[in-house]
């Protein structure tokens, strides 16, 4: 069997606890001065990769994290290395050079080939665009097996992987052989916090800088954003005193 060479794509996004605000020009959301963090699903992917190594059932040769984004994307790459990734690749993009999921998938295909990866673990979605496409697109471009929304990953000997995935109404289990793409869901694990010594160590781990051109990618847009608006406000805040009040109000609103 082959030792694992795991590629873990990560993305820097507005922190999950911050409520995003649409900008005045209605072209997107305000990002300046807003707290950013690693996309929560990507933390699950990094954690799972490190656990596969720690589980010792399958030898892990390399855990490489990769992110495309502005200079600040290096912060999340360092965090990932503090959690246990071996090395990082930062693909620097300029202002306004945001990649769409298809562009990211093409970039990752090139990176997978270059790094001789045989397993890609990535989040099922990023919490900014909520598109949920990149992993499936990457698997399609590579012609690899895919298992999305994983809640359990088991190596069952040889190159065989068994993945339990969350589907409507429950879970489903699939079996595949490496190479494959797995996307992570919330129940997969609980990501660790990086300890201070590990944060220090991560500063010395290799971080390679690349450009989109290195992978033959351009930031062309297939989807043009016409406008971004606030959702229609919801008029809430009505209160009642007791259960009888609740029942009569719900009847009045036609909900009972």
């Amino acid at each position: 069997m082959s030792a694992l060479r795991i590629l873990v794509p990560v993305k820097r996004v507005i922190d999950y606890a911050v409520k995003p605000r649409v900008n005045k020009a209605q072209t997107g959301v305000e990002t300046a001065g807003v707290k950013h963090s690693m996309n929560p699903f990507d933390e699950l992917s990094v954690e799972e990769s490190v656990r596969i190594r720690e589980g010792k059932k399958t030898p892990v040769e390399d855990i490489c994290v990769i992110s495309a984004g502005p200079t600040k994307a290096q912060d999340v790459l360092r965090t990932a290395m503090a959690m246990g990734a071996d090395r990082a690749i930062h693909v620097e993009t300029k202002e306004g050079e945001d990649l769409e999921p298809l562009g990211v998938a093409k970039l990752l295909k090139a990176a997978t080939e270059q790094n001789k990866s045989n397993l890609v673990i990535l989040g099922k979605q990023s919490i900014d665009d909520d598109a949920g496409q990149t992993g499936q697109m990457l698997a399609g471009l590579l012609g690899w097996a895919q298992a999305t929304q994983a809640s359990k990953i088991e190596f069952t000997g040889g190159d065989s992987v068994q993945v339990t995935r969350e589907v409507d109404g429950g879970v489903e289990t699939l079996k595949a052989k490496l190479p494959m793409v797995i996307t992570t869901d919330l129940r997969l694990n609980e990501p660790r916090y990086a300890s201070l010594p590990n944060i220090m160590k991560a500063k010395k781990k290799p971080l390679e800088k690349k450009t989109l051109a290195d992978y033959g990618i351009t930031a062309e847009k297939r989807l043009k954003t016409i406008k971004v608006t606030e959702p229609p406000p919801r008029q809430g805040g009505g209160k009642v005193e007791d259960v009888d009040g609740l029942v009569s109000k719900l009847k009045e609103l036609g909900a009972l």
Binding site: P20, L102, T148, G170, L223, V228, G237, D244
Partner: protein, 315 residues
Amino acid sequence: LSALAVLEQRDGKLNPGSLSAVTAAQKLGGPIHAFIASSNVKAVAEEAAKVEGVEKVIVVENGAYDKGLPENYAPLLVENIKKGGYTHILASATAFGKNLMPRVAALLDSQQISDVTAVESENTFVRPIYAGNAIATVESTDPIKIITVRGTAFAPAAVGSGSAAVEDGVDPKAESTTEWVSEDLAKSDRPDLSTAEKVVSGGRGLKSKEEFDKIMLPLADSLGAAIGASRAAVDSGYADNSLQVGQTGKVVAPQLYLAVGISGAIQHLAGMKDSKVIAAINKDPEAPIFQVADVGLVGDLFEKVPELTEKLKSA
């Protein structure tokens, strides 16, 4: 312009949730064909042929497609898209659609438009981003548009008086590199969470699985409601993960959403704030859930909910 709506089946029955794709396709204004592939596909095709607005049903009879594995289903769909010359491919944003469609999009070199909530024109679509905290209007420049649609925004097309022609599609018979092993689906006599008229949803305030069941199940039964849960309740093991409502769980928009012991994190609100009427019971008067609730009751859920259940039963 011609649209292909990708329909789902389970055990030889059409999944009504997948008919949202037909409704969204109707907004485009061109002819609509439906696609279905499975073993014993004839029975499902007969049902699909009655769906209003569908002109033709393309069928592929092959048991290899029963589980909707994207490794062979995506090439199958691509061949049929090319043969039919379709410009718009639509599927519901169910587990099946979310798993399959981006792979199809990649094979066709098209940038998918996910979770569409409105069709503005044949190339302009509306979709929520940032957990619904912002609404984006986007224009696609791809010749073939791959679209998943949010079920709560498009009511499933009616299975009624339609009489579509049924025609065999092409079957490239690609091998799947994954093998389906098993499934474990929650069995319930209650309405399906995604499509229920009423939903009662429990949060961390329920304190344990035992209390969740003791408090929420009778409440759901008194209303004929589906049961949902917040991520906190699911993570704490009070409720099954298939019941999670929120940005990364189910998105629901029932006539009545009753939140019990749920504080209302933005990720939870993303999954339910399009409900027609929202009611909340929570002991914390400052809980954010009250800001979106039409009717709020501040109080101890362990007293108020059983009282409510009794009153609903006797009503």
